[in-house]
Amino acid sequence: MLKFKGRSVLPGIVKGEALVTRRGFNTYASFFTSIHEQTGKAVCADTGNPELYGKNLANKIICLPGTAGSTSSGAVWQRLAKLKAAPRAMLFSQPIDPLAAGGLIVADIWAGKRIITVDQLGEAFLDAVEEGDLIEILASGLVTVYKNKQ
């Protein structure tokens, strides 16, 4: 069990399974096929991200440094929420970038869908967390990682 303290951007309490990318998460490239489908899944379509490509991001806790790519992604979070295919939480090792902040906050305030968001968890967090780990998030920004093998 490992504990990390970040800053709650959109606070909340949740548990879930980790998916991890150590490169910039391209929101638009990852979700551009999911937002046209109504399967309840969000299969990552970003061919430039071998860590996540082909994996279902819906209801997972995405661990990432920050987001990258097109500014078109602002409305993607709202759409994913409507399709019940949004990730459960987003955990940023770095300070959250404007693109991610804007999209997640708009989904929260205008679509009533909170995707729990914590940033500034540090490089050690991304070094430690692995795909399949169980993660528990508290409203204070405290993140506990239960290793998959434990």
Partner: protein, 429 residues
């Protein structure tokens, strides 16, 4: 975050529930970005979403709520290229047309709402709003709340204006309030470079390849690029304008670059030189080998990897008048060289409506390209093909951005020009 009295009153609902909600969103945005305060926007807006697509555009219900409350942007705005409803220019089959008609079925309603919210004029739709023919040209130091990654990086780097990489919807909300959190590229500190990139190539690299290399290296950081003035000269002129526009677009889409400085060329690099570098910066060299290896690493996403190319799209980002003329001259030269009258590959070239109109008025270049079989569009190839509709099409492009978001294969200008004429792709690529 410290708010002015007026901002606090709006947040408390003094100017209605809807503007209160807008301000609540912007304040939350500012707190997320750890801004100390909001700052007034001084230039026109430019937004990334001109089309009505679920999951991409704001919902009509949300736009109606804003309009019904009597809200619109404080200054007019321009939009990215129009929806791709000019089907004849895109070499589409019936199934693709039917799908696009269905996808964009609420486009007219969306257009009306954009006009009600402050769209500058019905033709103000391009990813090159700052071209003189279009006219949304912010000045140095202007505070903007733009989206469209290609436009943000150009406005910051080449024009010296100040905008963060805002996403869709938050761009509109900030421009309605006329305010944006003071953070990131809006601050002097946020504009300093954390990478020193030295270009050591034998000749001027293709801008979309160099941009991709820069983006892949620095991701969201700010690079200070050295060595391009050997090829481009000092300061900004129409050639460097076009070159840096393409470079920035590729850097923004392969990484998340929102600002770059180029020694002796971009305005802040001319004024402040290496003082723009932070105390602890990283250094990297990009040479011809780096760029060769990068392009060789691009996967071929076509179903049939050995297919002959069926379609070619140029103009992502939209081409300037000079670039259109360059393509006319290039195609003319190659048609003569190969003894041909027409292109082998079905080709569409994209540009702003105002730029295309001037190109047509100039006649010569337009006649060369039209007679060779080129079709023109003011829309954007990404909006046609960044979905599974194009999965069977063997598309080629000179845009690294289009390569990132579609199944298109990328080739630099000179190489793609040969393919357009002959239809042949060198096997050793």
């Amino acid at each position: 975050m410290r708010l002015s009295t007026e901002e606090q009153q709006i947040l408390a609902g003094s100017r209605g529930e809807m503007l209160q909600r807008v301000m609540t969103t912007i304040v939350a945005y500012g707190e997320a970005l750890e801004a100390e305060r909001l700052i007034d926007i001084t230039g026109m807006g430019h937004f990334v979403i001109p089309h009505a697509l679920p999951g991409i555009s704001p919902s009509l219900e949300m736009l109606d709520a804003l309009i019904t409350a009597g809200l619109k942007t404080a200054k007019p705005f321009t939009l990215d290229p129009v929806a791709p409803l000019d089907f004849k220019n895109w070499w589409l089959n019936r199934k693709q047309i039917d799908s696009l008609e269905y996808m964009y079925r609420t486009q007219k309603q969306y257009d009306k709402r954009m006009q009600a919210l402050g769209l500058w004029n019905p033709e103000a739709c391009t990813c090159t709003p700052y071209l003189p023919e279009v006219g949304n040209l912010p000045g140095r130091g202007d505070i903007l709340a733009w989206s469209e990654s290609a436009c943000v990086v150009f406005a910051n780097s080449v024009l010296g204006a100040r905008s963060n990489r805002n996403g869709a919807i938050i761009d509109l909300l900030c421009n309605i309030a006329g305010k944006i959190p003071l953070s990131g590229f809006l601050t002097d500190e946020g504009r300093r470079a954390t990478w020193r990139i030295e270009i050591k190539t034998d000749r001027l690299p293709p801008p979309q390849v160099l941009g991709a290399a820069v983006g892949k290296t620095v991701m969201a950081d700010v690079p200070y690029i050295i060595g391009l003035d050997r090829f481009l000269g000092h300061g900004i002129n129409s050639r460097t304008w076009d070159y840096l526009h393409e470079l920035g677009t590729a850097a923004a889409s392969t990484g998340a670059v929102g600002l770059f400085h180029v020694e002796n060329i971009t305005p802040e690099a001319i004024d402040y030189r290496t003082d723009l570098l932070t105390g602890e910066y990283k250094t990297v060299t990009i040479d011809d080998r780096t760029l060769r290896e990068l392009t060789a690493s691009y996967p071929i996403m076509w179903k049939d990897k050995n297919a002959a190319s069926a379609k070619c799209f140029l103009g992502c980002p939209h081409l300037s008048l000079n670039q259109l003329q360059w393509w006319a001259d290039k195609i003319h030269e190659l048609l003569i060289k190969h003894g041909k009258k027409h292109l082998t590959v079905n080709t569409t070239i994209c540009s702003a409506p105002q730029v295309l109109r001037k190109f047509i008025e100039n006649r010569r270049g337009w006649e060369i390209l039209s007679e060779s079989g080129v079709r023109f569009s003011t829309a954007c190839p990404m909006q046609v093909f960044d979905n599974n509709l194009s999965i069977d099409d063997a598309i080629i492009t000179n845009s690294n951005k289009l390569r990132v978001y579609t199944h298109a294969r990328f080739f630099p200008d000179n190489e793609i020009a040969e393919i357009m004429i002959t239809g042949r792709i060198r096997r050793n690529r």
